[in-house]
Amino acid sequence: MISTQLLYALAGVGLFAIGLRATLLHHLLLPRLLALNVCGAGVFLIFIAIAYAGIEGMPDPVPHALVLTGIVVAVSATAMALALGRRLENIKSDAIKSEATKSETLKSAAVKPEAMNDE
Amino acid sequence: MIDSLAVLAVFFGLFFFLSGSIGLLRLPDVFSRLHALAKADNIGLAFVALGVILLEPGLLNDIKVVIIWLLVMAASAVSSHLVARRALRKERDDD
């Protein structure tokens, strides 16, 4: 029977692999962000599995502090990525809107000379 | 004796959680699923809390566990209401 540490460390490796595969596979922002967070969770699990010292002993507190820092940094990075994504969507939709108005002005400019030629 | 009562209480709670999960997976629409989940939250958690109280006696601990149970019930009630309201509005818009 494998030890608890090895079981959770392998689970962390599996989590990291699942997240990595999804990050490489998708091209939209939101699924990739979720997959990246899953990668992060896998890394945290590996840390805490290494720090575990049995049901009776005191666990190693240094990886606990590192992972606590990591959780807060991960949520800040997620917020920043979402803000960047939102700005990108705004720029894209503005570009589409300005393309639409440009083609409309071109069409109305083409219609007017034809009307003058008919008269 | 107390330990076996506690284990029994936790098993009862687990039965309600299991039925709630089966309801979540198998029932056809949002409203019936919310109804199934409410059983899990209210009664299932009550039995698990009872088991925890039996295992860890001490007045402060008991009060904390009861407060946790009440808070989870309130939060689950409000979120079920919000989910049901949204589902109702979506149904009305589709019709």
Binding site: M1, T4, L6, Y8, A9, L10, G12, V13, G14, L15, A17, I18, G19, L20, R21, L24, L25, H26, H27, L28, L30, P31, L33, L34, A35, V38, A41, G42, F44, L45, I48, A49, I55, M58, P61, V62, H64, A65, L68, T69, I71, V72, V73, V75, S76, T78, A79, M80, L82, A83, G85, R86, R87, E89, N90, D94 | A74, V78, H81, L82
Partner: protein
Amino acid sequence: MIEILWFMVDVMLVLLLLALAWTTCSSRDVMRAVTLFIAMGLLLAIIWARLKAPDLALAEAIIGAGISGALLLSAIRDYPSTAIAVDRSPLMHSIINTFTMALTIVMSWAAWHGLNMSDGVRLSEQVASQLAVSGVSNPVTAVLLNFRAYDTLLELAVVLTAVLTVLILNDKRADSTAPGPLLQGMTRWLVPLLVVTSGYLLWVGAHAPGGAFQAGAMLAAAMILLQLAYPSIHQGFNLYLLKILLVIGIFIFVLTGLWMMSVNDDFLAFSPAHAGTLILVIETAATISIAAALTLAYIGGRPTGWEADNHGNRAMTEKGGAE
């Protein structure tokens, strides 16, 4: 017998975690993926509690499941469609699968080798021996705010940088529709309870699981709940005060470090007599900063009335920041 039962529990937790991660990453609908991600965060909190990391369990439940979930759910609104489609060619698919599988095998071998071949010496004895002079009796808080205080200072700086980016890039999100009397009624008594619990977590972090990050995140969760129930409640907040609240954590931290440098010849070297008080002061400032930062990160951009100062920036925001 007990070991077999624990092993069964561990195997079930691990299998459930991997199943949730797989369905999150391969789901076809964004809403479903985010919901499964929140569920995975809660399961991770249970796993931290099983692995004797209660501080982490608190932090993961509040931050990983709560605030991360709120951020992602409110960000779904920005994207036009909720369907996810994988757009890679079959060749790319197989390359990615092979690469990931090879990486998994190598990392599993590394984990097994590292755990079996190492001498198992950890830092718990060192921390336990120095715990008496650190000023607190919770080993994780001692490591975070005394032995590795520099890392925590840099982490606060990272959070501030991320929030500054969020503030620069966009304007505040449009308010959602008012949700009605039930949520408002619950918020009315839940938010004071959350504030009191946050203060308790801050105080108890010295001798029990808790601390500045959990307290700050709980305060942020209370403010986010307030924003959801009363959508225009953060409207009139004094913006000058908000700027001060954002930076007060780092300010107090660096000030204390410099003061200790003048007293003890080393940046952030706390003198054992005052370490407990100094840690509490730093933690209070850090709680306020983290709460302000995470709330602003959820609100999504510059609050109303927070003008861009530079002329060039103002022109750019008028062109590209309109929603």
